[in-house]
């Protein structure tokens, strides 16, 4: 126990040990040590260190601790998605802006009725649908769907879902929906715009959760807690002085 007490006593800051170290050691030699004394010295050493830190140091330490904790939490998150995609050749329409035209096309093809149908067909987001309404599941499906125009003039569609097979099936279904919508919609299918699948849906790429926003959020929360802690410490010190 003597070794543990000596180790705990080293946690006190050097300036404190320079002033009180000898007499503190003399006290420790005189008392009959208990296990609770180890904890008491540990607590005393840590609080003595924190008392001697300035506000900037406290905020920095809390920010680092917050960022670290957030990264640890992000590793425990199960939100790893399989993203499956398909690329189309999309002929530029004669009139209008290409981006506007494709955006309208995506909205028309992947409308809410279609998304609801696809959610029911593939039984997507069962927990979400049990807890909340279909509207919540549709919003999640909208977020999981990405439609982007490449510089080559190609149009890429992808869908993210925790199950790789379902992600691929949904992507294939969406591709078919695009082709059908192209023929159904007279405004989009009068020869000015043409959609054709040039590649089969890819087997899928596993997406890792983006840990940067997590770490940043944790660090910001840590700074806020650190500033609050420094403020409370200063207030307490002023009140007791």
């Amino acid at each position: 126990m003597k070794r543990m007490i000596d180790w705990a006593a080293r946690l006190y800051p050097r300036s404190w040990r320079d002033r009180y170290g000898d007499e503190f050691e003399a006290l420790l030699e005189e008392i009959r040590p208990r296990w609770t004394d180890v904890l008491d010295i540990l607590k005393g050493g840590i609080s003595m260190r924190i008392l001697r830190w300035n506000s900037l140091r406290i905020a920095t330490l809390f920010a680092l601790a917050g960022g670290f904790a957030a990264i640890v939490v992000s590793f425990a998150m199960p939100a790893r998605l399989w993203r499956s995609g398909v690329t189309f050749v999309y002929q530029t329409p004669d009139t209008g802006h290409y981006a506007d035209h494709t955006a309208t096309f995506v909205r028309t093809a992947l409308n809410k009725d279609y998304l609801e149908r696809i959610i029911r067909t593939y039984n997507l987001y069962p927990e979400e649908r049990q807890q909340a309404s279909m509207a919540g599941a549709i919003k999640r499906a909208e977020r999981a769907t990405q439609a982007e125009i490449l510089r080559t003039g190609e149009f890429r569609l992808s869908f993210a879902y925790p199950d790789a097979v379902i992600a691929q099936r949904v992507t294939n279904n969406m591709a078919m929906q695009f082709v059908e919508a192209n023929f159904r919609n007279p405004e989009l299918a009068t020869g000015r715009a043409r959609v054709a699948i040039t590649q089969p849906a890819q087997p899928g790429v596993r997406e890792k959760p983006n840990r940067r926003p997590f770490a940043l959020t944790g660090a910001v929360c840590g700074i806020a807690i650190g500033v609050l802690a420094a403020w409370f410490r200063r207030r307490r010190h002023a009140a007791s002085a």
């Binding site: 007499e23 503190f24 003399a26 006290l27 004394d37 008491d40 010295i41 540990l42 005393g44």
Partner: protein, 95 residues
């Protein structure tokens, strides 16, 4: 009364003492055993506030003395505590 700073001040009100003697005295007068970390945390705060001061000593054991400010503070706090104790006891008797 469990505030370590008040207990240390109350102990030193009875005369100059070093750390171990303060610890023993507090155990006798209040039935509380202050841990070494708690005791020296209180001693550090009290010395920083000028309520106690270290005396010259050839020994490693450092004796402390209550200052005039410390005495005033202790008197005020003990009067307040005594007032609370009196009112509390009276209310218990009336109840």
């Amino acid at each position: 009364m469990s505030d370590p700073t008040l207990l240390v001040l109350a102990s030193l009100a009875g005369g100059d003492k070093h750390g171990y003697a303060i610890m023993e005295d507090i155990q006798t007068l209040a039935g509380v055993r202050l841990g070494p970390g708690t005791l020296y945390g209180a001693i550090t705060r009290l010395e920083e506030r000028g309520w106690i001061r270290a005396l010259q000593s050839a020994d490693r054991r450092q004796p402390y003395r209550l200052t005039a400010d410390g005495r005033r503070y202790l008197q005020t706090e003990l009067r307040n505590l005594s007032q609370v104790a009196k009112i509390g006891l009276r209310r218990l008797e009336d109840a």
